[in-house]
Symmetry: C2
Subunit: 222 residues, 2 copies
C-alpha cells in the first residue's frame, strides 16, 4: 500500500477549504482544541487569513466527519466526549472490526500480510521513539489494514468516521498521561492471529483487544 518515494502523488488541498479543514483537524486531533471547545468563526478567519465562506464550508465538512457539532445561530463546537461516548465507540469498533475480518479472511494474500507486517513494524518502532502524534497515526494505520484489505468501500467510509473519534480519544489520553492505551503484547498477538488460520480466535481476540483498550482509556480519563 505504501507508495515508493519517487512515485508522484496528486496535489492535495487545492482549495482553501481543504487547507482550512486540515489545519482545524490537526488542532483538534492534537488536543489544542479540546472536546466541547467553541470555535469562533471570525477569530479563526483572522488567524488563518481566509474569509468566512471557505472556513464555514470546511467546518461543515468536519461536522460531517463527526469531529464537530453545530447548532443554528450557536456556532460550532468540538464534539464533546463522555464515558458513554467512549463505550459506544469501542463497542461499535468491535462490531465493525469483526465484520471486517470475516470479509478480509479469504483475501489475505502474501502481499496483504506483508503489508500488515510493515505497519506492525512501523508502529512498534515509533512507539519507542516517543513521538506521540505519529504513534497515533500508525496505530490507526495498523488497525486500518483490515478495513482496506476487506475491499468494502462503504465499510471503509464508516471506519474513517470512527477513526477520527479514536484519534481524539487517544490524543486526549496522551495529553493527560504520557503513555499509550494498548500494550505491545496485545498488538503482537493481534498480528499473529491475523496471519493465523483461525478466524474464530481472531474474532474472540478483537473483543479482548477492545476491552483492554477501552479500560485503559477510561482509567486514564477518570
Amino acid at each position: 500500500m505504501n507508495k515508493s518515494p519517487t512515485e508522484l502523488t496528486p496535489v492535495e488541498d487545492r482549495t482553501l477549504r481543504a487547507q482550512v479543514r486540515r489545519q482545524i483537524l490537526d488542532r483538534v486531533l492534537g488536543g489544542q482544541f479540546g472536546p466541547g471547545a467553541r470555535l469562533i468563526e471570525t477569530t479563526l478567519c483572522t488567524q488563518l487569513q481566509v474569509s468566512r465562506a471557505p472556513l464555514r464550508e470546511a467546518l461543515r465538512e468536519l461536522v460531517d466527519q463527526g469531529i464537530l457539532v453545530s447548532e443554528p445561530y450557536k456556532g460550532f463546537r468540538v464534539r464533546p466526549v463522555s464515558e458513554r461516548d467512549l463505550t459506544e465507540l469501542y463497542s461499535m469498533r468491535t462490531a465493525l472490526e469483526k465484520f471486517a475480518f470475516t470479509l478480509t479472511w479469504p483475501r489475505r494474500t502474501p502481499e496483504a500480510l506483508a503489508d500488515l507486517s510493515t505497519r506492525y513494524e512501523e508502529l512498534m518502532s515509533i512507539r519507542l521513539s516517543g513521538d506521540q502524534a505519529k504513534a497515533i497515526e500508525r496505530e490507526i494505520a495498523f488497525h486500518g489494514w483490515v478495513y482496506e484489505t476487506s475491499a468494502h468501500r462503504l465499510l471503509q467510509e464508516h471506519w474513517a468516521r470512527l477513526s477520527y473519534l479514536v484519534r481524539i480519544y487517544m490524543s486526549l489520553h496522551h495529553n493527560l498521561h504520557g503513555a499509550h492505551g494498548v500494550f505491545g503484547e496485545m498488538t503482537t498477538r493481534y498480528r499473529d492471529l491475523a496471519e493465523g488460520e483461525s478466524l474464530e480466535a481472531m474474532l474472540a481476540h478483537i473483543d479482548e483487544h477492545m476491552v483492554q483498550g477501552f479500560d485503559s482509556v477510561v482509567r486514564a480519563l477518570a
Copy 2:
C-alpha cells in the same frame, strides 16, 4: 415514540440552509434527481431563490450524509450507485442490524414491543394504499426500531447514514417498477421473531431478510 398531536415540537428548518437541504433531499429521495445527476449551483439558486452561500453549505451537509459527492472545481453530484454499492449496502446493513439486535434483545420492554407492532401495522396498511413515498418512510421507520431501542447513539448515527442510501435504492426500484422489495410474509416473520425468545433465530433471519431484499432490488435494476 410517536408524539401526540397536541404535543409541542421544536420549530424546524429555521435557516435557509436547512430548508434548502430538505428540498434537495426530497428531490433525491423522490427520484427527480437520479444517481449520478449533476447539481448546478446557479440553477438551484434561481429555482430556490437563495444565494449560493446557504445552498453550498446545505449541499455539503448532504455530502456528509452520503447523499451527494463532490470534487473540487467539479461540483456536486448525486451519489452514483452500482450493483457493487448495493451489495455493500446490504452486507453492511446485515452486520449493523445484527449488532443492533444483540443490544436491543435485553431491552425489549412491553412498551418497546408495542411500538414495534405499531410500526408494523402502519407499514402494512400503507403498503395496500399504494402511496409509495410514505411506504418507503414507514419501511425505514420499521427497521429503525431496533436501532432506536438499542439506545446506542453512535450506532443510530451510522444507521441514519445507511438509511438514506436505502431510501435512494428503494425509490429507484419503485421508479423502475411499481412494486416493493420485501414481501409481506418476510416482514411479518421479522416482527414475530423480534418478539420471540431466540436471538439466534432473529440473527439468522436478518441474513435471509437482507438477501431477499437485495435480490429483489438487483433483479429490478438489472
